[in-house]
Symmetry: C2
Subunit: 360 residues, 2 copies
């Protein structure tokens, strides 16, 4: 087999797979990727056992062949090549990689022992790629990271009227975003770490979605993926969303982020980075206190609602996370000093964050 | 005491000190910095016990005062302020930091317990700041990092005719650079880690140099420093510089760096990342071999000298380090397959690197 391929295209494809394929594993074959050469090009595939990924790279190929190579070494070699065109050729158990004055002979692995990876061949629904990636990225922070119940480490995708919704929660805060879908969205839970890879890979155009047996298939122009889903019941998050708003304030999200970051410098790390929010008379006063001193900041806000004033304590990190995806003006909706508070982007119904205040 | 100071200037000064002052220490006072307020401005000073540093920040001050504050918190607070002007004021044991809608009360430390720092008041010699920083940065890599004899972890500064020279070596390789000096340069050894701070702080203009008792004073427009020197005798490095060059090649430093990086991907990590250099007939052939395969690269070179061909093995990392400071064309001077090789920038007599080849 001989293949001529553009260094840039091959390098981009290898770059995508490099993120998935582990660089170390107790099973060394899993650190490899599979290359299938066909007349139109090369299909590169790899897995981390949570996500299988395949990427097609156009190439001139003289004859069909399939082989397995160390993923990271191959990617590193191609990335460092000097020329613009790469010539791959297979002879015996060596892959030769040639470009400009460089010649590499890379030992290939045992093809028969490589796991069988399968990829979607049809689409059950489709999303706008940017919308899907933005939605997952907006709620990702609210998923739990560690010793929490497994479902809290996932992002739920569900149908909501004619739209799709992604939801994440760690029990202390919740984030959701609605976005447009074409076709049926089924309820499922994607591991948050696999969602990170989706966010990276899914860039623009349309994303095809395929429902499998405990898997979600994803098809983009460049890439096909099969993502293992999580079992279990996602908690009934709707009941933590307060219905009865008593005080609403509106202000620049950036100004609030900066002020919270500022006062949080002196907040007590051992008391949940507590920052006090005191709303009254069109002002939001932030205050924090710790071992080294006290901090106070005052912001002008637009204010309405049935209560004229309210005082709540928040974990500064949770407030900053909730504000993260909000550009322009933010809307903060309070239902009482101990009830969950809501953070929204003004004029954008898609994103909602819910943060439980700290106890007094 | 009340002081009005520009946020930008104060933040820059604190940023310089933040690099020196440790963020944790068994003696919490050492994580603080001292502020001396005088009519013309504030002098900020701090130490890591290896380097003492003082930085002057112009300010409007109503009355003299001196106090000690937690360095990193103070720097973080000032950096995050929204306004352009900062008002500092002292009342009781609190420093108030005010700007825009923000107000911080920071507890001050015990001034009497803070170590006495001294700074140079005269200059014995002077260097061009860029030249000094560039020279130190060029040889820094060759200093030893760990369990080596202490002097190998330092950079020697010495007089050489009318110029100054910096030298570093870990016993396997050596780097030196000569640069212009005004006045007498004394032989001394600066700890490599303190040299890193000098490289960062010394930017442009003239640098005044002061010889103290086991210390080197440094004065720039913004900053004064006192650097603790290393004791001991720097090894006689001159004798490893080969006098008898048998083969010389010239080629683009960038092309050589890229080719060495390329073939090194397959070099054996357990055999010093060995890369073979084979020079003959106007060509430099690089080759490496490891568990995963073999790599070869060929570069055109200009070649002269008494020997028509030579083959040497090098640690790829040492070659890349030696080439690091060289821009444009590089000159490689070989004295034999087991003799130290020299790397120079063509047409720039200042920099010289010496690398000992690996044994066969």
């Amino acid at each position: 087999m001989r293949a001529n391929v553009s260094k840039k295209t091959l390098s981009e494809g290898l770059g995508l797979l490099e993120r998935i394929v582990p660089s170390r594993s107790s099973n060394p074959l899993l650190t490899s990727l599979k290359v299938e050469a066909e007349p139109r090009g090369l299909t590169l595939s790899g897995t981390n056992l949570e996500i299988d990924m395949a990427c097609f790279v156009p190439a001139e190929v003289d004859r069909e062949a399939a082989f397995v190579v160390p993923a990271h070494l191959f990617a590193q070699i191609v990335r460092n090549l000097g020329g613009e065109l790469v010539e791959l050729s297979l002879s015996g158990n060596e892959l030769s990689v040639q470009s400009g004055g460089s010649n590499f002979k890379l030992q290939i692995g045992e093809l028969g022992a490589y796991p069988l990876l399968s990829f979607p061949t049809r689409s059950d629904a489709s999303y706008d790629a940017r919308e899907l990636a933005r939605s997952l990225a907006s709620v990702r922070y609210a998923a739990a990271t560690e010793a929490f119940q497994a479902v809290f480490r996932g992002i739920k995708i569900e149908q909501l009227g004619g739209r799709a919704r992604v939801v994440a929660s760690d029990g202390f805060r919740l984030a959701l975003r609605d976005f447009n879908a074409h076709g049926e969205t089924r309820n499922l839970i994607v591991p948050a770490r696999s969602a990170d890879e989706l966010i990276r890979v899914v860039r623009d155009g349309e994303v095809g979605v395929t429902y499998g047996e405990g898997t979600l298939g994803i098809t983009t122009e460049r890439v096909k993926m099969n993502v293992k889903l999580m079992d279990g019941e996602f908690p009934d998050y709707e009941r933590v969303i307060p219905r009865d708003v008593k005080l609403r304030i509106m202000l620049s999200a950036t100004a609030l982020k900066e002020a919270v970051s500022r006062v949080a410098v002196l907040a007590d790390k051992n008391a949940n980075n507590r920052v006090e929010f005191l709303v009254s008379e069109g002002k939001l006063q932030l205050a924090a206190e710790g071992d080294y001193g006290r901090a106070q900041d005052t912001l002008q806000v637009m204010q309405d609602g049935s209560e004229p004033a309210m005082s709540l304590g928040f974990n500064a990190k949770y407030v900053l996370d909730a504000l993260g995806p909000i550009e322009g003006d933010a809307e903060l909706l309070f239902s009482g000093p101990t009830s969950p508070a809501m953070f929204k982007a003004q004029g954008d119904g898609g994103y909602l964050a819910v943060v439980v205040p700290l106890r007094v």
